[in-house]
Symmetry: C2
Subunit: 177 residues, 2 copies
């Protein structure tokens, strides 16, 4: 399937980075392949393109579905399932961000919530620190969720401001009065 050398290199790179991105090599490779391929492809084609077993592909696709990154499609008169990236690069990035937040932050936040609830009075050093972490994670989650809810175009516009947002921040403050 993928002939181009660059494409090949990119797929391999995504495999190597996979574990740093929160999944494994195979999943990284499959995801890259699906992003880079114009039309939907079958599990068998994926297995062949990446030289991995059919069952490994099946597991990888399942994992990618849990990340909401791939789409299933069918061809008329063909029983096979075909797979494709769900959305634009920006939307995919937003989805990955959202899922990672869910997997990397949510569990800690719930633990902290229940711990702080159980010991509301205490003001030991440890409790204070837990409170600080809780507040940080809570605010970060809310902020990330807000950003993720934006249209890619709006988000891009915002991001292009860079550190310029601080000026806008002061501006808004002054206008309030």
């Amino acid at each position: 399937m993928p002939i181009n050398t660059d494409t090949q290199a990119f797929i391999m790179h995504c495999g190597e980075m996979g574990s740093r991105w929160g999944f494994n090599r195979t999943v990284g490779q499959i995801c890259a392949l699906l992003v880079i391929t114009p039309e939907p492809i079958s599990a068998e084609q994926i297995a062949e393109a990446l030289s991995i077993s059919r069952s490994n592909v099946s597991m990888g696709l399942k994992e990618l579905q849990s990340w909401r990154l791939i789409q299933l499609s069918h061809k008329p008169g063909d029983r096979k399932e075909y797979f494709d990236a769900t959305a634009s690069i920006w939307e995919m990035a937003q989805t990955i961000f959202e899922e990672r937040l869910k997997r990397e932050v949510d569990p800690t936040l719930s633990l902290l919530r229940s711990q702080l609830l159980a010991h509301e009075g205490d003001a030991t050093y440890g409790q204070q620190r837990l409170q600080e972490i809780h507040d940080l994670l809570e605010l970060t989650t809310a902020w990330a969720t807000a950003l993720n809810g934006m249209q890619p175009a709006t988000l891009q516009q915002l991001m292009k401001l860079g550190s310029g947002v601080t000026k806008v921040l002061g501006l808004k403050d002054k206008l309030k009065r």
Copy 2:
């Protein structure tokens, strides 16, 4: 060292989450312990508190230093080294964010940069997609760097706006004219 049940639970939790956060169990636990402990503690105390080998602690501390998350200190008349979290929770979070960007995004960005440079002309589907990914990562990196350069207080102020930034965004746009 850590007696409190909550503290203990939190440390264990950080160990379990460690691998999702980009390091291993031990590193997660050590980091949590150092954050939660008011004074600097020695490597030996860490090993005892977490029931792990002295050498494992040594490796974990080295890793944490590469993340710029811990500080070394000494007590007068004592040759031992003592360790402590470097900074406030917010600063630590910013550091982690920065390091993760470096480890998770930078390598891909450089690959894409050189690939796109080598094939500037091409407009195949694959090349286009690589370009899109490149642009996304570039913008995201710049934006994240800008945010990370802010004082925690400023950043918090910004984050508290939530999706309210979009309003400010439009506001700024109107004022420009």
